[in-house]
């Protein structure tokens, strides 16, 4: 079978794996669930305290009502922990057979051999596989699942865990903080530049489950890393919940590029909080691509903490029938001489809805800030919906802040022009869509660009 990180075949056929679970919690959410997760993981007291405070906050916090419709989420109808692996393996041969097969079908081991510096694979609530290239290990790079990191590097965790995104940031950050399991931990030591990307893959298999991975990336002074995450799940009629928290710390003069290719099945609520701190001269990039899920709410952010910090956020969304992609980006300019670029490209098709929320905030004193925000939305059908909600909050005079927006439909004249060159209507629309996403595609490694193109083509043919 052809392999595909974006799980193109799965989108079509929706197979699920038959696997055995070592641990699967019954449905329902209460304090005992939180305590049980912490116990299973043998966590230090401070982490349990953190979880419990977060859970308390989750209970008190109202559901956000400003964005996508979340009223159908039933927290009592979800199982919050499921594990089918006893340990994290660093050899694919040690991964349980059926899980290994799934990741093979997704092309992970093959990609790892060909063009990755390290790979991780998470299945339901726990990490099945994690491995970093040996030379990088020797240089002091750490790339492991976050549970292992808590045991092996408690100081780093204590210093940074929950600092970029406090548990009280929003209701779903609180939920993740209470229930987190798995995710990636990366530490890149001073001046180490990792040549190839590190990749993590997240897989949900069962229905009515929640996945709450927690990722923390610390890039020390002058260091560089590219991280790619992919995800997928088989299609069910009932809902599942994916709520991740991703914290990135980019120290002085470091560079981080974080790429997400999100192709969850259309029954998943994908409610994710992602934020980076960029210190002096650091450069942080989020490349955030949302194709799957029922509902996504995700706005990767960069806080420009010190002078010379730069941010580049590219947000891409494809909302097909039945989907709502509520995505965007935030840049918070705290220090002077900082710059940010936000570009959003969204397509809605059939009854799909895409919303772009962009925020540029310039605090008093952040002199000589440069920021540019652009959002382009394209609607393919008469029932497609698109909203763009840019916000500029500028509390400093000495700034250059720009904003552009275009919202368009595929024009009759443009289609006629392309069709007069012998292209069918479908070919013409595909070409317009490919051109529209070009700014994003050209930033992807070739292998992912090919996958992305294939998936978009499938979405274009797929009239749900």
């Amino acid at each position: 079978m052809e392999t595909s990180f974006l799980d193109i075949a799965q989108t079509k056929y929706g197979d699920k794996d038959n696997i055995e679970y070592f641990e699967k919690f019954p449905k329902g959410l209460n304090k005992e669930v939180v305590i049980k997760i912490s116990k299973l993981k043998n966590e230090p007291q401070w982490m349990l305290d953190f979880r419990l405070k977060a859970f308390e906050h989750f209970l008190q916090r109202k559901m956000p009502e400003w964005g996508a419709d979340l009223s159908k989420i039933n927290f009592d109808d979800i199982s919050y922990y499921a594990s089918s692996t006893e340990k994290v393996s660093d050899s694919w041969d040690d991964v349980p057979e059926n899980i290994k097969k799934t990741f093979e079908r997704l092309g992970i081991p093959e990609a790892e051999k060909k063009f990755l510096a390290g790979a991780g694979a998470m299945y339901e609530s726990t990490t099945a596989y994690h491995k970093l290239r040996e030379d990088l290990e020797k240089k002091g790079v750490i790339f492991c699942d976050t549970d292992t990191a808590l045991q092996k590097y408690p100081e780093l965790l204590k210093q940074w865990f929950g600092k970029v995104i406090p548990y009280a940031d929003n209701k779903f950050a609180a939920l993740n903080s209470a229930l987190w399991s798995g995710g990636s931990f990366i530490y890149v030591p001073k001046n180490v530049k990792i040549d190839l990307p590190l990749q993590a893959y997240f897989r949900i298999n069962a229905e009515n489950t929640g996945q709450f991975e927690r990722t923390l990336i610390i890039v020390d002074e002058g260091a560089e890393v590219c991280y790619i995450e992919g995800c997928s799940a088989p299609r069910y009629s009932s809902q599942s919940l994916h709520s991740a928290v991703v914290e990135v710390v980019a120290l002085k003069n470091s560079r981080v590029r974080y790429t997400t290719l999100q192709n969850w099945s259309n029954n998943i609520y994908n409610l994710v909080t992602k934020r980076a701190y960029a210190y002096q001269g650091a450069y942080v990039e989020w490349l955030d691509c949302n194709i799957g899920s029922a509902v996504t709410m995700k706005y990767p952010s960069v806080c420009l903490m010190e002078e010379g910090a730069k941010a580049n956020i590219l947000s891409v969304a494809f909302a097909n029938s039945g989907q709502h992609q509520d995505a965007g980006a935030k840049a918070i300019h705290i220090a002077p001489n900082t710059s940010s670029t936000i570009i959003s490209k969204s397509i809605s098709k059939g009854t799909g809805k895409s919303t772009f929320r962009g925020l540029v905030k310039v605090l008093k004193g952040a002199k000589n800030t440069k920021s540019f925000m652009k959002c382009d939305a394209l609607m393919l059908d008469k029932n497609s919906k698109s909203d763009t909600i840019p916000s500029l909050q500028v509390y400093e005079d000495d700034v250059q802040v720009g904003h552009e927006a275009t919202v368009g439909k595929v024009g009759e004249d443009q289609l006629f022009y392309l069709m007069s060159r012998g292209l069918s209507e479908q070919e013409a629309v595909n070409m317009i869509v490919n051109g529209f996403f070009k700014e994003f595609i050209k930033e992807l490694p070739m292998e992912y660009a090919i996958e992305f193109n294939k998936l978009i083509q499938l979405e274009m043919e797929n009239n749900l």
């Binding site: 024009g411 009759e412 004249d413 443009q414 006629f416 022009y417 392309l418 069709m419 007069s420 060159r421 012998g422 292209l423 069918s424 209507e425 070919e427 013409a428 070409m431 317009i432 490919n434 051109g435 529209f436 996403f437 070009k438 700014e439």
Partner: protein, 246 residues
């Protein structure tokens, strides 16, 4: 080859072509002239199959096939080409990528290298700068660049019939000469018939028409040979076709 019989066209329930008949044979050059808003572009869009132009009466035949209700892509694949007065822009797709896709339709079996060679040769003949080929189709192009790009497409497609809607408007004198020479060359190599829409005689000096038609108020009001174009240039539409164009 092309036979238009008593064509009537509505756009948004307004009649804009009112019984047009026209016959074009292989290799012939027909010039279509007329004041602004007389129906020149409407005729070209109707023949090519723009969905907004509703055919309420009449028929169009191409090589004896009834093509009245075919979509633009089907007509293109039969060998009809339309050079646009205002070509659309296509963001993110370069001329090269676009023409490769188009070329695959009309020149199947061509290798990538063969295609590159042909593209290089044709753009050189049209004096199209190499860097333009790598830019998004028509995006930010000058008037002359857009028109040259249209004729570049024609040279790849090698149509049996080319309807060229003002290939000379917005074009400087040097470019006009290059465009006209290339159109002539392509037409000669492929025995392409041409329906040339223009306001000016200058291009007709290069592409001497076998027939000249004057259109006004959605009707062809006068047809003649090359001399008619010269008469028009000297006297203007009003003097030639009468005040009401009848």
């Amino acid at each position: 080859m092309l036979e238009i019989k008593n064509l009537e066209i509505n756009v948004e329930n307004k009649k804009i072509l009112d019984g047009i008949s026209l016959e074009i044979k292989p290799g012939e050059i027909h010039a279509l002239m007329g004041p602004n808003g007389s129906g020149k572009t409407s005729l070209s869009f109707s023949v090519m199959g723009h969905p907004k132009y509703k055919i309420t009466n009449g028929k169009i035949f191409f090589n004896e096939q009834d093509i009245t209700n075919l979509t633009a892509d089907k007509k293109a694949n039969l060998g009809i080409f339309l050079g646009f007065q205002y070509p659309s822009e296509l963001s993110g797709i370069t001329i090269r990528q676009f023409l490769k896709k188009v070329s695959d339709k009309f020149n199947p079996g061509l290798s990538v290298k063969e295609f590159q060679n042909i593209l290089g040769e044709k753009s050189e003949q049209l004096k199209i700068d190499e860097s333009l080929i790598s830019r998004s189709l028509n995006q930010g192009f000058s008037g002359g660049e857009k028109k040259k790009c249209e004729i570049l497409q024609m040279s790849i497609i090698k149509p049996k019939l080319a309807i060229l809607d003002e290939p000379d408007s917005g074009v400087d004198i040097d470019s006009l000469k290059i465009l006209a020479e290339n159109i002539k060359k392509i037409a000669k190599e492929n025995n392409t018939a041409i329906l040339l829409i223009t306001h000016y005689n200058r291009i007709l000096n290069y592409l001497k028409p076998d027939f000249v038609h004057i259109i006004n108020n959605g009707k062809i009001v006068m047809s003649g040979n090359y001399n008619l174009a010269e008469e028009l240039e000297q006297k203007g539409y009003e003097m030639v076709v009468g005040k009401n164009g009848n």
